[in-house]
């Protein structure tokens, strides 16, 4: 690891005015450029530095900025500070009761040690885990190279949807749930202004720009994630499948949020797939298959099948499709409190 200078910011404004580029920009910058990046929990940043992919000249520490580590709610919804850790998110009564899928997604991530350090903001801004992207020896499209090695290579952990020039899957597990809840992110800039943007729009696929995963601008600091209030009758379920239970990335995960009207029919349905595409992938056909319907086994099954319709698996990842369909079906049944009958 090369030497860098360390600056601990006391305010969001101080951090925003010090920040010169995003991590994605710093990774592609010339060696003589000023590469100033921000650090929250530092989980991904240190990985990138140890892997020799990121050589910052200065690191702005965000963790000493007060006020960004709380979860609060009011009539407008719930505000989750960007420095809230995954462990707080997993354990907090607001997330556990109102946004169960989010709490479960956070609890399913990483290891207890990492969950106690990793922040929500850092988790949403982490770079992908694609092993070609993480290999300094593979100058892939996302790092400014010519092509994506995964298409012809070892793609068992890669995307089955939306892999337009790059086959990463979005690394954040909590993002699957947040998109299902129609979360927004709050971003502060050096001029003292803020903007909020829907997370679903903030996370960008390779068809927009293959070299970044977000719409984060240089100098912007993510300050909070905002969730709309959940009316009574909304149920949410998160299910994750990995190759092991301890400390593993999803091979498929699913968040389902639905509300049942007085007559039992579904409305306001979200079905979002994780580890399936370069962004959390909204399964619109599955949502359509559920909206206005009474949930039974056949409807849930149809939603599962609809969720994987149009998928384009690669050489080694077709196995993800039956898993995604199964998780959607199970999540829908659980959310609707319908017990699956044994055939």
């Amino acid at each position: 690891m090369d030497r860098f200078t360390w600056q601990s910011a006391r305010t969001v404004a101080e951090a925003a005015s010090a920040g010169k580029c995003t991590v994605a920009e710093a990774m592609r910058a010339d060696t003589d450029a000023d590469r100033v990046v921000m650090k929250a929990g530092g989980i991904d940043l240190l990985d990138l530095m140890k892997e020799g992919l990121l050589r910052p000249t200065r690191v702005i520490n965000l963790r000493d900025i007060p006020g960004l580590d709380t979860i609060t709610e009011d009539a407008a919804g719930t505000r989750i500070g960007a420095l809230v850790t995954l462990e707080q998110l997993a354990a907090h009564s607001i997330s556990r009761q109102r946004y169960t899928a989010l709490a479960d997604a956070a609890a399913s991530s990483a290891t207890p040690q990492i969950r106690h350090v990793a922040t929500l903001g850092g988790n949403l801004l982490q770079r992908p885990r694609c092993w070609y992207f993480r290999s300094a020896a593979h100058h892939c499209a996302r790092k400014g190279g010519e092509h994506c090695f995964a298409f012809a290579g070892e793609n068992q952990y890669h995307a089955v949807f939306g892999h337009d020039g790059c086959a990463i899957v979005h690394p954040s597990t909590v993002a699957t749930a947040l998109v299902a809840f129609n979360a927004r992110v709050e971003l502060a800039n050096a001029q003292g202004g803020t903007r909020t943007v829907a997370l679903e729009a903030f996370l960008v696929g390779p068809e927009v720009d293959v070299t970044r995963e977000t719409d984060l601008r240089a100098g912007e600091v993510m300050t909070a994630v905002l969730l709309p209030p959940m009316p009574a009758g909304v149920r949410s379920v998160f299910l994750k499948q990995a190759e092991r239970l301890s400390s593993d990335w999803s091979i498929a995960d699913v968040a389902v949020v639905l509300q049942r009207a007085a007559d039992g029919r579904c409305q306001n349905v979200s079905v979002v797939l994780g580890a399936a595409a370069p962004v959390p992938w909204r399964a619109q056909k599955a949502e359509a298959a559920l909206t206005g319907r009474l949930i039974d086994a056949a409807v849930a099954n149809a939603a599962g099948e609809a969720a994987i319709a149009g998928a384009e698996p690669l050489r080694r990842n077709a196995y993800k499709l039956p898993i995604l369909a199964t998780l959607v079906r199970r999540a829908v049944l659980t959310a609707a409190d319908v017990r699956e009958t044994v055939p």
């Binding site: 092993w131 020896a137 290579g153 070892e154 092991r244 698996p313 077709a318 196995y319 898993i323």
Partner: protein, 766 residues
Amino acid sequence: MRFPFGIAGAGVGEIERQIPDGEPPPLPVNDALRVIGKPVRRQDGRAKVTGAVRFTVDVKPPGMLHARILRSTSPNARVRAIDTAAAERQAGVRAVLAIARNDSILRYAGAPIAAVAATTQAAADAALRLIRVDAAALPFVVDMDIARRANAALVYQPGEALPLNAVEIPVSGALPLTGNVRGPETLGSRGDVEQGFAVAEVIVEGEYRTRTQTHCCMEPHAIVADWRADGLTVWMSTQFTAGVRRELARVFDLKLSQVRVKVAAMGGGFGSKSQLGVYGQIAVMLSRQAGAPVRLVFDREEEHLDSGNRPETWQQIRIGAHRDGTLSAISLVEFGSAGVGVGAGVGNFAQTLYACPNFSLAQNDVFINAGRGSAMRGPGNTPGAFAMEQAIDDLAGQLGLDPLVLRDRIDPSPVRREERRLGAAKSGWDRRHAPGADTGATKRGIGVAQSIWGANVYTNASCEVRVLRDGSVLVLSGVQDLGTGIGTILAQVVAEEFGLLPEDITVHIGDTDFPAGPPSYGSQTTASITPAARTAAWKVKQALFRQVAPALGATPEQLAARDGKIIIGNDPARGMNFRDATAGMRTDQLSVVESRADDYGGFRRRSGDMAGAVNDLGGVQFAEVSVDTETGSIRVERIVAVQDCGRPMNPKLIESQVMGGVLMGISYALLEERVIDQHTGRMMNANLEQYKLVGPRDTPPIEVIVLENYQGQSATDAYGIAEPSNIATAPAIANAVFNAIGVRVRELPMTPATVLAALGRLPRRS
């Protein structure tokens, strides 16, 4: 002399053995002993859990430099030039070593090219980036199936010298090389297999595939070398201090007396730390060049790329049997790859486990451009068991026999028979249902598999025992503790002989300045060093008795050591405290060095210092799993491991090793696979994130039953446990998966992708 003989609980009798002069009298069974066979706590346990224990990476002699190795990023390239001038000028750099030369071929990504020693690791890393390597890329092949094709890129050109390295793995010198395929090796074939299949009433066959597993030692490979005018001192994380000393003396043309090898605590080796290795030589050469101690520690990527691995295999197995289950023929065709090395054979397992008059073997090494394989916990037998024990399970199904009943008919081992009986009762085998019988998406199953492994003994194994005038006791040996607790066991053995407690005994091991110890590979440490320790202790005790008998008014023959006293005529009321007795010694210390005698009943085989006992080690494991047939996810619910190791010396340490073997087996079964990109020839998961090991939440209850199997073969009658505990786990899980879902998964690792494919649930790609 009459020794206890047989399996405790199944009838222990006696056997008459002629024992050589100078060997102690027989030990009674464990029930009659005070310290041996008891669950004594690890002596360094507290130091380990508090972080006080020192590993090789903690060794920091004054003036120590840090070394790093520049490694090939290309899977196959011919070096045209190496320019180290800029690196040599870099601040802090004290030595630069070109390992590859012009025209050297770098045959795998990770092959060492050059090395640097500098005052800090950062300076060494920076210097590596200044080394210019001009190399011409050559065609390469990293896939074993592609490497077997006629037009494949060649790893070795015809006539090139092949690397015939072998630890534990017998390698024949002269086998044909055709393309990248070396073989077939047919060693061990017997009878007439064609005839055996002709008379068979049932034939089962199947193709099995196992993947390359890397050792993933918790403690990385590490060495600190200190070359001085008067000799060489090396601290190394090694499974064989005496062997490394021999290698160093040979390679650097030193006398054995000029080389000292030391090892502190270790965090595993599993076969990968058996030898000096290229990296060891590099550290010594850098130290000689720099005139300072040099530390070289692998990072995790180097661990995966260049510290050995368990070779991948493709096995085609065919078994013929009569209706009653009696085997008439076994044939095994295998292609395996140890990368640029050899030693991927698996034939020993199918050859030796079951009674069968006809056996044919054709095993082949396939060269690919990848890091060299090496011995890894039960080499050969672990992948061999995955295929053979599934084939036997298959055969039981075809014959309509319970898999345990079939094994009762074809397995001649009385030890495994008892292990099957105990394991069946413990695992609830009678709950086992027909394959795939559970309704619902998640199905449970129970399976069994067996192990066989040689009971190895290293006779060039010595130990010194000293009694000091204040009553303290020292045990000294070069033997190393790679994490298994041999130091604690030595304390037990010596304490038993002196009637003391293990904590009364001070053990110093892991240093070649002490009498040379055995290697800690081949599951032979305890078998080799504990008899030497007991014999030495017994002899010191005799000497002590001779010196103190007059003061006690007795003859030496009347004395015994028990409960901290030296007593007369077996009467605890007559005698004196051990400490008071030693105060009367003529000299400050009494000391005896002893070595391992041959097994009293003889050996079955012997090669140099290493011998094989008459009876092999067994082991039977039972797995219970649940399989989600919609996601392909397997959960291991429980493992029952029934193992034997002669006389168990310390049940707590044995249980700990068996759990380690089982965990490694679960990990092998469900997760582990070295993934190499076909287009760039690089390992994609050279880390512990995407190279997946089993974790705490995936760890099922593991119940361990250890047989006491007395054979009257040595002063302790102990044998090993490390490797047998790893062999049966993966096939037991695979057989349980078959029992759960009614479909056989013949490929490792059994990930959701593999299981869904076996279930025929993969959609066709558009």
